[in-house]
């Protein structure tokens, strides 16, 4: 039930208050004035009754007037000082005063008597009014207002009409004459009075019906509080009406009825005062407020309820936000009243924390108990509202989270019964949603999967924590991997989120495989980089390939020529014996290694049993069905093949060749590295040998040339010394020979020194040195040097010796008529060319001289090439980097 359809509150409607402004308590002066007036009126009534010549029971009537009037006026005065009961208090006062009008009926004065007759029943209508306006003083419904109108018309207008025709003679009393009598028509008058009585009784019953129905919709507490009022008030009305009805028949009965009615109606002020004094009405109002709040209310609704409860339409409820600022019911920031403002604030606290304030009329300070109660209720409401907002935010967030999760969600009972399913993609389910709900996982899933899930459910329920299980399941004809995460959602059930991990697991597997492959490649690369022996690299490669591909056997073959290959690496046991390292394999047609050699590309051989050769038969016989081989090329030439031998159960995916090629590249690198290393070793050895040979040649030349001449010179000089005195002529001849020997020795030494390192090269550079060299050549040599500056010393020396050795070869072997020497700059290098027009046919390996030159040039990272076709002369070209 919404707040808007709740039973009408005890307090007057909002619209009524809003129209009339805030209800204020009656001022004390006015209240005192009303009290004094009431006392005076009661004194007057007592006087009229006591002095009456015709009142049947003057004392009784006087007492009745005082009791009834004082009860209603007294209660009314109390209510007039306590909003929201001011209006009701006025009605109570009105009832009190109206009850005194009956005393005019006892007046001896004919006019007063007539007024008394005319207004004697007014108290009935005011009482109806008061009862229907209980307790706020305002009529709540149109029907209520209609009934009150009828009541007033009945007791005033209809009564007046009856009195006009009533001679008032039927009671045989000596009361004064009816001054309002126009036409004496007792029968009509009686009929009209009976009609009035009937209407009064009907009104009494109607009021009783309305009030009891209204009371039934109140809370039990409210009903208990209202019941004395309702019973007393309605009984009073009914007895009053009955009294009116009996009046034409018996004045005594009428007096008794009306008197009892008035006495009964005293229950109304009595109960009101009792409730008021005990604060019960306030609590009832707060209770009503709480009932209303319990039903739930919006922010403006709460404020309206508080306004109604406190009777202050200006009341505002301010909520404290997180930053400590206050916001009104619409959520807008608001300023609290300051000094001089007719309103004041009362903080609303909940559990020691200020969560808002009530901004209300200062007059409510007079109702501290009500204010406290309403404040407490407001505190509960605000705290509840905040909790509700928090809960709603959490619910929205949780729902958003749940909606954002693309996974399957199940609610499953401990025994495996599926209670609920949420699936954005029904295709991910084993069964349609409607068939899955209510089915046990044991009936839907394979036994081992169902058992695993049930175990996981048990674990989650026992530990109270998240539990997960991973399993493989065939869905839509495809095997998929799922992970179920379960958390308890009740004492005997779990919520499980099922996620399809197939792709993730595939990626993980692929990453793991790649990682293993990279690790294996790194192990091999480490060996290669560490200049490990090629045999170790070959063996490791076959082993790592088997490990990475998950196969059992692999071999590495090196081509010896186009007809055979030799096994240089092997891993696996079955190949042992027939295909050990060192075994020469004939390259039969159809073998993987043969195809690789022919095509230079990776190949697959599917069925060895169908191949014709002996090796294929042997391979097939020891259990290999197929193979994959990739080429190993070194310096652009086929070097060998890496062959994975596969058994029937070893089916390799398409990317296998690519993976094997990575290892083949490392093998090629290892081989190239080893070859380069060997080449460097050989080059170094040749340099050492050339150096040794050169030293030997120098020593020989010295020994055979200059040294011998000097020795002979020494002997000749000693001989000349012996003969200088005895045989001076012979001594002179000996000295002449000695001088020639000395000259020859000097020449030989000079030439020798020139051969070791030409001084002109050091002193003046390459071009002058080459000019000397070419000038000494026994054939015409054209020299063309195009250098702008001197070359670095190592380059200059290498260039000199290239020319020197090449020219020496021209002289010795070419039988050329002429030669040309060119030194040219070329893209960061010096280009040295020696060309002759001889018979050609020279080879790099043909003589140690050119080989030595090659080593010298390669030491400088240069290159040496020879173009020497038979009969076409020879061109020796060396490029020497200038770095």
């Amino acid at each position: 039930m919404s707040a808007h359809s709740a039973p009408a509150p005890v307090a007057p409607s909002l619209s009524g208050w809003a129209r009339d402004g805030p209800e204020r308590p009656l001022s004390g002066v006015l209240a005192v004035g009303i009290g004094v007036a009431a006392l005076a009126a009661m004194a007057g009534a007592v006087y009229l009754s006591a002095a009456s010549h015709h009142a049947p029971n003057p004392i009784g009537h006087a007492v009745l007037s005082v009791v009834v009037c004082s009860s209603f006026v007294g209660a009314g005065l109390l209510a007039l000082r306590r909003p929201p009961y001011v209006r009701f208090g006025l009605l109570l006062v009105a009832v009190g005063f109206a009850s005194l009008l009956g005393a005019l009926h006892d007046a001896n004065n004919a006019y007063l008597y007539t007024v008394g007759v005319l207004t004697a029943n007014l108290v009935f209508a005011v009482l109806v009014h008061a009862l229907l306006a209980l307790p706020g003083g305002r009529l709540r419904t149109r029907s209520n207002r209609l009934m009150v109108l009828v009541a007033y018309l009945n007791v005033l207008v209809l009564q007046a009409i009856a009195v006009v025709f009533d001679p008032l003679t039927r009671w045989k009393s000596d009361h004064p004459p009816n001054k309002a009598l126009i036409v004496s028509h007792p029968t009509l008058a009686t009929a009209l009075e009976e009609l009035e009585a009937a209407i009064a009784i009907a009104l009494a019953l109607a009021v009783a019906f309305v009030l009891f129905r209204w009371a039934r919709a109140r809370t039990p507490v409210t009903r208990r509080r209202l019941m004395p009022i309702l019973i007393g008030g309605n009984l009073g009305l009914l007895l009053f009406g009955i009294g009116l009805a009996l009046a034409p028949l018996s004045s005594r009965a009428a007096v008794v009825g009306i008197g009892l009615g008035l006495l009964s109606s005293i229950a109304l002020p009595a109960a009101f005062v009792a409730g008021l004094l005990q604060g019960r009405l306030s609590r009832a109002a707060v209770g009503e407020l709480l009932v209303e709040l319990r039903e739930g209310t919006t922010a403006p609704g709460l404020q309206d309820a508080l306004r109604r409860t406190l009777g202050d339409p200006s009341l505002e409820l301010a909520r404290a936000d997180a930053s400590g600022r206050y916001r009104n019911a619409d959520g807008r920031p608001m300023t609290l009243p300051g000094v001089g403002d007719p309103r004041m604030t009362t903080p609303i606290e909940y559990q020691g924390r200020e969560i808002g304030v009530l901004v209300h009329d200062k007059v409510l300070r007079l109702r501290p108990e009500l204010l406290d109660a309403v404040n407490a209720a407001a505190g509960f409401a605000l705290a509840n509202e905040q909790s509700l907002e928090t809960l709603q935010r959490m619910e929205v967030r949780n729902r958003a989270l749940l909606d954002a999760i693309p996974d399957l969600m199940f609610r499953v009972r401990r025994d495996g019964m599926t209670l609920d399913v949420r699936a954005d993609d029904p295709a991910a389910l084993v069964l349609p949603v409607e068939e899955q709900i209510g089915r046990n996982v044991q009936d839907v899933l394979p036994t081992e999967v169902a058992d695993a899930i049930l175990t996981c459910i048990e674990r989650a329920l026992e530990t109270g924590a998240m539990s997960s299980v991973e399993y493989e399941l065939e869905v839509g004809g495809k095997a998929r991997i799922f992970e179920s995460r379960m958390v308890p959602s009740g004492a005997d059930e779990v919520v499980t989120i099922v996620r399809d991990f197939t792709e993730q697991r595939r990626v993980e597997t692929e990453q793991r495989r790649l990682g293993e492959e990279q690790t294996a490649l790194r192990r091999v690369a480490t060996l290669v980089a560490g200049d490990a022996p090629p045999e170790l690299v070959f063996q490791t490669v076959t082993e790592e390939v088997c490990r990475v591909l998950g196969i059992r056997e692999a071999v590495l073959e090196r081509y010896e020529n186009e007809r055979c290959a030799i096994i240089v690496g092997r891993y696996g046991n079955r190949l042992a014996g027939d295909f050990d390292v060192g075994t020469v394999i004939e390259l039969e047609e159809g073998l993987a290694a043969t195809k690789v050699l022919r095509t230079g590309a990776p190949v697959r051989v599917e069925n060895y049993a169908e191949l014709p050769g002996a090796i294929a038969r042997r391979v097939s016989a020891i259990g290999f069905n197929s193979s994959i081989a990739v080429p190993i090329s070194v310096a652009g030439s086929p070097w060998g093949a890496l062959v994975a031998s596969l058994r029937e159960d070893e089916l390799m995916p398409p990317e296998t060749e690519r993976r094997m090629a990575s290892f083949a590249s490392l093998v090629a690198l290892a081989v190239a590295s080893a070859q380069a290393r060997e080449e460097v070793e050989a080059s170094r050895l040749r340099l050492v040998e050339a150096s040794d040979a050169e030293r030997r040649r120098l020593e020989r030349n010295l020994h055979d040339g200059a040294q011998q001449r000097l020795v002979a010179l020494s002997v000749g000089l000693r001989l000349a010394m012996q003969k200088v005195r005895t045989q001076p002529d012979q001594a002179a001849e000996l000295l002449e020979v000695a001088a020639e020997e000395l000259s020859a020795a000097l020449t030989e030494l000079r030439e020798l020194a020139q051969g070791i390192h030409p001084a002109v090269l050091t002193d003046r550079g390459l071009e002058p040195a080459l000019e000397v060299l070419t000038a000494r050549a026994p054939l015409p040599v054209a020299l063309d040097v195009r250098l702008r500056e001197r070359l670095p010393e190592p380059v200059e020396t290498a260039a000199y010796y290239v020319v020197s050795e090449a020219l020496a070869n021209v002289v010795k072997h070419a039988h050329a008529a002429e030669a040309a020497v060119r030194i040219l700059p070329s893209d960061g290098s010096a280009l040295v060319e020696v060309e002759d027009n001889g018979e050609g046919g020279a080879q790099l390996d043909g003589g140690s001289g050119l080989r030595g030159l090659l080593d010298r040039v390669e030491t400088l990272d240069g290159y040496l090439e020879i173009d020497s076709r038979q009969g076409r002369g020879t061109l020796v070209r060396a490029a020497l980097p200038l770095r």
């Binding site: 020994h703 040294q707 011998q708 000097l710 020795v711 020494s714 002997v715």
Partner: protein, 131 residues
Amino acid sequence: MKAERSELLEHDAQAGRRVLIVDDHPSFRSCVRALLTSEGFVVVGEAEDGESALALTAELSPDLVLLDIQLPDISGFEVVSRLHEKHPELEVVLISSRDQNAYGSSLGASGALGFITKGELSGPALSRLLK
């Protein structure tokens, strides 16, 4: 003076001995021939290599072979060995442009009578070895 006198006496004792000169340099051979002849030795022949030395020794039967270690065909050490196979009493003096450090223990093991560097070769030096 005493020493010089002694050397001269030793030299006289060796004078007249028949010498075969083996060296591949003709100018050196002619100088040595003139030197030894002037000092009383009789140079019976000259050989330019090892094989010629073996042949001339067999032919001329010299008392002394003055043998260069470094010959164009075979080593002087081998020539000594082969000479002593046929002429065990033949005296052989090895000569070389290098000093004896260049040959180490090979000189002692060669079976030759001694070793003289070519720069120090003279009649008295030869006589001291032959005494």
